[in-house]
């Protein structure tokens, strides 16, 4: 899922300080699962911001709504009738949600409440790790299911660099060398002969480097 982390409250206080009527908009999907932007976080933020305002002698109206998702038009439509009651929306969905909400409600400032980090998985409660960078051309079949694009610091495609030591990356002892992992996995799978096969130069045009992307599926378009 998309993994995001809460923005420091000082930052949020700063960016929303001029709003007298604020809507905090949560999302019930990825940010709920990584405990950064669900209904509960909306409630906590709302209470904190209200108190902050009261403490500064300001009167603010802060309301709380959590949508199922902020990346589908239909769910965002649910707030159409109330949007003009607010000077600003603080969306604590991922960057996608913030933008989609902003695009739909052009007249209302939409601010982010979380920092969207990466596509990753829940290693355990409270620990999310990056696994995918959306390069657009998945090569996991050739690397034993371990991605060198997201897990190798240099994004190498043909084996480790000289900095790999004791299975760790040269940038930090906490980071596994992706290629060590790949070799170990291919050994376990018995496919180590494939390791010798050279990977061709990657076509990065499918990656963000080739410009903003879209996916079109004619077969499901109405």
């Amino acid at each position: 899922m998309i993994v995001a982390d809460k923005k420091p409250i000082e930052e949020i206080i700063e960016t929303t300080r001029n709003f007298k009527r604020l809507l905090i908009l949560g999302c019930n999907e990825c940010v709920t699962v990584c405990e950064a932007g669900g209904k509960k976080e909306v409630g906590i933020l709302a209470s904190a911001l209200r108190m902050n305002a009261l403490n500064q002698g300001r009167e603010v109206k802060i309301d709380e709504i959590t949508l199922e998702r902020q990346c589908d038009h239909e769910y965002l439509e649910e707030i159409r009738n109330v949007v003009d009651q607010y000077d600003g929306i603080l969306s604590i969905a991922c960057g996608v949600g913030v933008q989609f909400t902003a695009e739909k409600y052009q007249a209302t400032p939409v601010l982010p409440g979380v920092n969207t980090k990466f596509m990753g998985a829940t290693e355990k409660r409270g620990l999310w790790v990056e696994r995918c960078q959306g390069c657009g051309q998945c090569i996991l079949a050739t690397t034993g299911g371990i991605c060198p694009v997201s897990r190798c610091a240099k994004r190498l495609f043909n084996g480790p660099c000289g900095g790999s030591s004791n299975g760790k990356c040269e940038i930090s002892k906490e980071v596994d060398c992706a290629w060590q992992l790949i070799i170990d996995r291919m050994k376990a799978l018995g496919t180590l002969e494939d390791y010798e096969k050279l990977s061709p130069i990657k076509d990065w045009s499918t990656d963000r480097a080739g410009g903003p992307r879209k996916v079109v599926r004619e077969d499901v378009q109405l």
Binding site: N28, T32, V33, E35, G38, K39, K40, T66, R125
Partner: protein, 885 residues
């Protein structure tokens, strides 16, 4: 009138009218006739008219089907032991006195001070075995079993309570921490907390007049005389049977042993010499809390068997009228304010509070009473509920812990759902603790009533689901534990299905010949197997494996593969008893497996039964093999008595044989101590070794050469043994697969984890699942039998309900809001929430314990805990803070 307070061991005073201690049941006052001067004031003052001044002891006769004696023990009084300084210096205390000193509700309110000058001690010495293991000064030759552990506990807690550093030294002969996980506690005290353990028998404690300190003199292992100064000395007094209990036994015709404990047969641990009279706890023999609680349930099982035919004949059931459906109505709240005599009324202006309550939203009726908990007030409340059509009730009085269930019954008797009730604690949490501020207490009482009324308005009826209970138990394991549990259940009228993975029943006991008391294990096991096979209510499935398990308390379904043919069978049952047992550790040390002259104690026992000891001249035994080491930090409990049993057998047949026991601590606890004494008297030689320098074993032609150190001589000795017996410890049976199929908690050593170490020793955290025998932890055959009875007893309590009422205080998931994030699944301590077929979290009300952790964690606010819903708590917050901003 005051007197010294015997509960606090005469360390402080109390009145002539007193409550003995905070946990007393009933929590009511009594008059001490020895101190009472006879003024009769108490009777006149009591507003509840509860004092019967002229009350005298009355005799009444009860007709019963069984009797259980659990009269317990008293601490040994060391006053006769002049050399300890007890009585000469107040800073020499017994462990019982020290416990009261440590207690937050004791004479010093939990500040650890020494009695003489109330100074905080810097160094405390514990002297073990005072009044135990001592046939010289007192007649108590047995080991009291609990003193080593309690001394360590007192040292640990004293260290916590004292602000500076505290040096603790425990003078002992052996440290007997043989219970489940107790050894780990000992190691933590010694290695992490720095409690010192010195092997010495103290011969003199002299008070030092100038400082109040005590000079403790002893001889250390090298023979040197040492003297150390301590601020306090604690005598670890043993447990002994009071004279009154001896007299009681005499009256009842119960046989006692030479130490006045009840004489019992090792295979019938809770049965006395008189049929129908059972015993448990320390009267049966010195033991700790978990063992006492286990034996209590065991005695209940034994008595229950006698009474099985009469079950239910004297119980009364209460008629509850149908519930009125108030769901559509607006709340009509009745507020009843209590005076509680003068407890509330003397501080709080109750009339003011009642008048205030009448102004609150949705309140349609208010009243006040002198004692709201009295029977006639209950009738009055019922009338008012009906007369004013009240559909919510608030009682402003004491703590819900005392009377909430009773008030809820009053509501139910009027057809009102019991969850439409709220209490405001204006006594324990108000008038009692604000006695110096009546105006403040009145104000606060109004605040608390306002909060209670606000919450009452948010309450809605909750349904307590009823589930049926299948009156059958599944017993996993057909050893001595499993068979006794099955018989315990079957003899009380419940069906038991006994599943055993081997071909034969009997388990580890099949390898035993005799107990240390000389009882014939083989004959007992054969008899047990016959009883189990013949019993009409027990089904035995040998060569069977459990492969599946579903359901919840009262309604389990277990899939079993039966017999060599492996045919599948589904068993429906209401409870489970785990009795999977343990094995003897197979040593890797000391040449075991390489030389046939190196055997384990079980093998030695079998060998002695078969061939006798005539050909054995030099036998060495090494204790603690496979126990108390890094791999297995626990004590296996039974090996010391096992070694001594075999040693005595050898000496009985061949008195000239030399038997050497190399040990770390001899743990012949309780009544087993006599066998240790006998072994020494018969010439068995005991040598202590330290784990850093274990014995060395080299197998040679002439014999197995065992080299070890004698700590007294300070020399190394070597014996050429005909036989080397290793006291190999116990290892839990491999229950990893079973544990994962049935979701059973096991500790690091593979033993099942009970719900509470002390108070619920045979129950697992999952309701309806029980555990007994060595599957729980290493123990003797007699202890296994007691624990099996106990598990059967707890299981029958469970199964004897025709239906179980589940509490309505359970968590519920709103499927529409659930984000399937798995946070609740991960945070529930009982593993209850599950992602169901629809992909959202679901909580089974039969499994939910009602803690609310999932509700607090849910990032989507999709879970509410019944009766503690968010707005039901938030409305109290808002009501209490009304008008502040």
């Amino acid at each position: 009138m005051t007197a010294v307070n015997p509960y606090n061991k005469n360390l402080d005073d109390r009145r002539a009218t007193f409550i003995e201690y905070p946990q007393a049941v009933p929590l009511a006052f009594a008059i001490d006739p020895k101190v009472c001067i006879g003024c009769g004031l108490c009777e006149n003052i009591c507003l509840a008219k509860a004092v019967r001044y002229a009350d005298r002891i009355k005799e009444s006769a009860l007709r019963v089907g069984a009797v259980i004696l659990s009269s317990g023990s008293e601490g040994y009084d060391p006053s006769g032991l002049d050399y300890f300084g007890y009585g000469r210096s107040p800073n020499v205390v017994t462990s019982e006195e020290f416990e009261r000193i440590l207690s937050a509700s004791g004479p010093y309110r939990g500040h650890v001070m020494r009695p003489l000058d109330r100074e905080e001690p810097r160094r405390i010495a514990w002297i073990q075995c005072v009044g135990s293991r001592d046939t010289n000064r007192c007649g108590n030759g047995y080991c009291s079993s609990v003193c080593c552990m309690y001394a360590i506990k007192e040292a640990m807690i004293a260290k916590e309570h004292i602000h500076g550093d505290l040096d603790c030294t425990i003078f002992n002969m052996d440290i007997r921490t043989f219970g489940k996980d107790y050894e780990k506690y000992y190691l933590r005290a010694r290695d992490k907390e720095g409690v010192q353990f010195v092997k010495a028998r103290i011969h003199t404690v002299d008070p030092i007049a100038e400082t109040g300190d005590l000079a403790v003199r002893y001889v250390d292992e090298s023979g040197a005389i040492r003297e150390e100064i301590f601020s306090m000395v604690v005598l670890s007094v043993g447990l002994q049977i009071p004279r009154a209990s001896v007299a009681l036994a005499g009256q009842l015709g119960i046989e006692l042993n030479k130490y006045n404990f009840v004489a019992t047969d090792p295979f019938l641990p809770v049965t006395t010499s008189r049929p129908g009279i059972y015993t448990c706890g320390v009267f049966q023999g010195p033991k700790d809390i978990p063992s006492s609680i286990t034996e209590a349930s065991a005695a209940a099982c034994a008595a229950g068997r006698d009474l099985a035919a009469a079950r239910g004949t004297e119980t009364r059931s209460i008629e509850i009228p149908d519930e009125i459906d108030v769901s559509g109505e607006t709340p009509r709240i009745g507020v009843f304010v209590c005076n509680c005599g003068i407890n509330i009324g003397g501080i709080v202006k109750v009339q003011e509070v009642q008048d205030y309550a009448a102004t609150l939203p949705n309140v349609v009726y208010t009243d006040q009473n002198l004692f709201t908990c009295s029977q006639d007030t209950q009738d009055k409340i019922k009338d008012k509920i009906k007369a004013h059509r009240l559909n919510r009730v608030v009682v402003a009085a004491c703590t819900p812990k005392t009377h909430e269930p009773m008030f809820q019954e009053t509501l139910q008797a009027c057809g009102i759902n019991k969850y439409l009730f709220e209490m405001a604690n204006i006594r324990n949490q108000n008038s009692w603790i604000h006695s110096k501020d009546p105006a403040g207490a009145t104000r606060k009482a109004k605040d608390l009533v306002r909060a209670a009324v606000a919450r009452a308005g948010t309450l809605h009826p909750l349904e307590e689901k009823k589930i049926s209970v299948i009156p059958r138990a599944l017993v996993v394991g057909g050893g001595v534990a499993g068979m006794n549990a099955a018989l315990g259940l079957a003899n009380q009228g419940f069906e038991a299905v006994l599943v055993e993975k081997e071909e034969k029943l009997g388990g580890l006991a099949n390898r035993l010949t005799h107990t240390i008391e000389g009882a014939d294990v083989g004959a007992y096991v054969d008899d047990l197997i016959r009883k189990v096979n013949d019993h009409p209510k027990i089904q035995v499935q040998t060569q069977s494996l459990i492969v599946g398990f579903t359901g919840f308390k009262g309604n389990f379904s277990t899939e079993v593969l039966v017999g060599p043919g492996m045919y599948e069978r589904k068993i429906a049952h209401g409870a489970v008893v785990l009795a999977t047992g343990a094995r003897e550790y197979q040593p890797k040390e000391y040449g075991y497996g390489e030389d046939p002259r190196v055997v384990t104690q079980l093998e030695l026992g079998a060998r002695l039964a078969e061939k006798g000891a005539g050909d054995l001249n030099e036998v060495v035994m090494i204790q603690c093999v496979g126990s108390r080491n890094e791999e297995n930090p626990n004590c296996s409990r039974i090996c010391c008595q096992s070694a001594i049993k075999n040693a005595l057998h050898i000496k009985a047949e061949n008195p000239d044989a030399n038997v050497y026991v190399l040990y770390r601590d001899i743990r012949t606890y309780g009544l087993l101590e006599d066998y240790y004494t006998e072994a020494r008297a018969k010439g068995v030689l005991f040598f202590r070794y330290s784990p850093e320098r274990p014995p060395e074993v080299v197998a040679g032609e002439a014999g197995v050469a065992v080299t070890f150190e004698d700590p007294i001589l300070g020399r190394r000795l070597q014996v050429s043994a005909d036989l080397l017996a290793l006291s190999a410890g116990m290892v839990a049976e491999d229950t990893e697969e079973l544990g994962s199929i049935m979701k059973l908690a096991r500790n690091a050593e593979g033993y099942f984890m009970e719900a509470h170490v002390k108070l619920r020793p045979v129950e697992m955290a999952t309701e309806g699942v029980f555990v007994c025998g060595t599957a729980h932890s290493p123990k003797l055959l007699s202890e296994t039998i007691a624990q099996a009875y106990a598990a059967a007893s707890r299981a029958t309590t469970f199964l004897s309900q025709s239906e179980m009422t589940l509490s309505a205080v359970v968590a519920q998931v709103d499927a529409d809001k659930c984000a399937s994030c798995l946070v609740c699944v991960r945070s529930c301590p009982y593993g209850v929430p599950r992602i169901n077929a629809e992909g959202v979290s679901e909580i089974d009300p039969a499994l939910c314990h009602g803690c609310g952790i999932c509700a607090g964690e849910c990032p989507a606010k999709a879970i509410e805990l019944n009766w503690y819903e968010d707005d039901q708590l938030l409305c109290k917050v808002e009501a209490l803070l009304e008008g502040v901003l």
